[in-house]
């Protein structure tokens, strides 16, 4: 025995929740086309994403074909709607086969929400795309744990733990693999590079400052052949790969 559920909305949400959703032609076409007997809540962005898929296909068509079939765009909403309808119908049919009772239950959202929740929803994102070293973050975290109270600190801890998995390196493997090294090097200042060179313990190099400039000028003045000949005459201490 199937029980017909009256189409009563069980929302406790004020109407303002949905006020920031733009009225979409497709949605209104759909709503008119569907005077369903079962009170399904129609998902908002669902139809919009269908439009995207088909728009992409249209663009592809445009590029390859050059001309479109007559009235393509006129027919398009219907095509979209019939695809959606097909899917919904197959879901209804499916449910009718396995558990018909469920087809007659309202799908409206039941749970209560704080009012204005969606309007005021803000997601704070990390400011840098390359996360800072865990060690530095941990120190500051401890400082602020005291100030902010434990609850805040725990949330923070979870968020920070999520952002960087390996203490040993300043960037994650994935970031390392996809980095455009040349570009990043270009964006380094001379000072940064020189500081690094001065600190790095490599055999045979020392820090040079003013003296080098004139020498380098002279090197630049020398022709390529002169330089090549010189290098050939040197013992091969370098080992390049």
């Amino acid at each position: 025995m199937l029980v017909q559920i009256p189409r009563v909305k069980v929302y406790t949400l004020p109407e303002s929740y949905f006020s920031n959703v733009s009225v979409n032609v497709l949605t209104s076409i759909t709503l008119n086309a569907y005077s369903k007997q079962v009170p399904y809540a129609i998902p908002q962005g669902y139809f919009l994403s269908f439009a995207d898929v088909l728009l992409q296909k249209i663009n592809a068509l445009h590029n390859t074909a050059g001309t479109l079939p007559q009235q393509y765009f006129e027919c398009l909403p219907d095509k979209i709607l019939s695809r959606i309808k097909q899917e919904q119908n197959s879901i209804d049919d499916e449910l009718n086969e396995i558990a018909p009772l469920l087809n007659n239950i309202s799908k409206a959202n039941l749970y209560t929400l704080p009012s204005g929740y969606f309007e005021s929803l803000e997601v704070i994102v990390p400011r840098q795309t390359v996360p800072a070293k865990m060690i530095a973050m941990r120190k500051k975290f401890v400082q602020f744990a005291a100030a902010a109270g434990i609850a805040g600190a725990v949330v923070l801890g979870i968020l920070m733990l999520n952002s960087n998995k390996n203490i040993d390196v300043p960037i994650s493997y994935k970031e390392a693999v996809k980095m455009d090294i040349a570009t990043n090097v270009s964006s380094l200042s001379d000072e940064e590079i020189n500081t690094y060179l001065a600190e790095t313990p490599v055999i045979g190099y020392a820090i040079n400052n003013g003296a080098e400039i004139n020498i380098e000028e002279n090197i630049d003045a020398a022709s390529d052949e002169e330089i090549e000949q010189f290098l050939q005459e040197q013992p091969d201490l370098s080992n390049e790969i």
């Binding site: 400011r127 973050m137 500051k140 975290f141 609850a151 990043n184 001379d190 790095t200 313990p201």
Partner: protein, 131 residues
């Protein structure tokens, strides 16, 4: 909730500052460079970096302690590298790759020096005067 957001904002601001210090960008580029040159996989990377960092620290210490004595530094650094060869081999297996680790620091430096040279050249070309 507001308290959490406030704390988050503060920390985000602070991490932005600490990030700017200490040539971390340089370190990041070096990591990327080595990852590429040695062709590390994600698994290898996990094991590699703790070992490499220790190795590099030892080299740095040896350099600092032997600023005036090039030969002493060379001996020490050779000893260090010999010691770490086995550790790297465990992770990287292939001898050629282990060898790469031992030249990659110098190659990285060479690359940076070349870029500096290029910049100086370009400046000279633009203004007609030495940089």
């Amino acid at each position: 909730m507001k308290k959490i957001i406030l704390v988050l904002l503060i920390v985000c601001g602070l991490t932005a500052n600490s990030f700017a210090q200490k040539g971390e960008k340089m370190q990041a580029i070096k990591v990327a460079y080595i990852t590429r040159e040695v062709n590390l996989t994600e698994d290898e990377a996990q094991k590699f970096w703790p070992v490499y960092n220790k190795y590099f620290e030892e080299l740095k210490t040896a350099r600092d302690q032997n600023k005036a004595d090039e030969l002493a530094f060379e001996e020490k650094s050779l000893a260090i590298r010999k010691r770490y060869k086995a550790d790297f081999k465990k992770i990287l297996v292939d001898d050629a790759r282990v060898n790469t680790v031992f030249v990659v620091d110098r190659n990285f430096m060479e690359m940076l020096k070349n870029r500096l040279q290029d910049r100086k050249k370009n400046n000279r070309n633009k203004s007609g005067k030495p940089a």
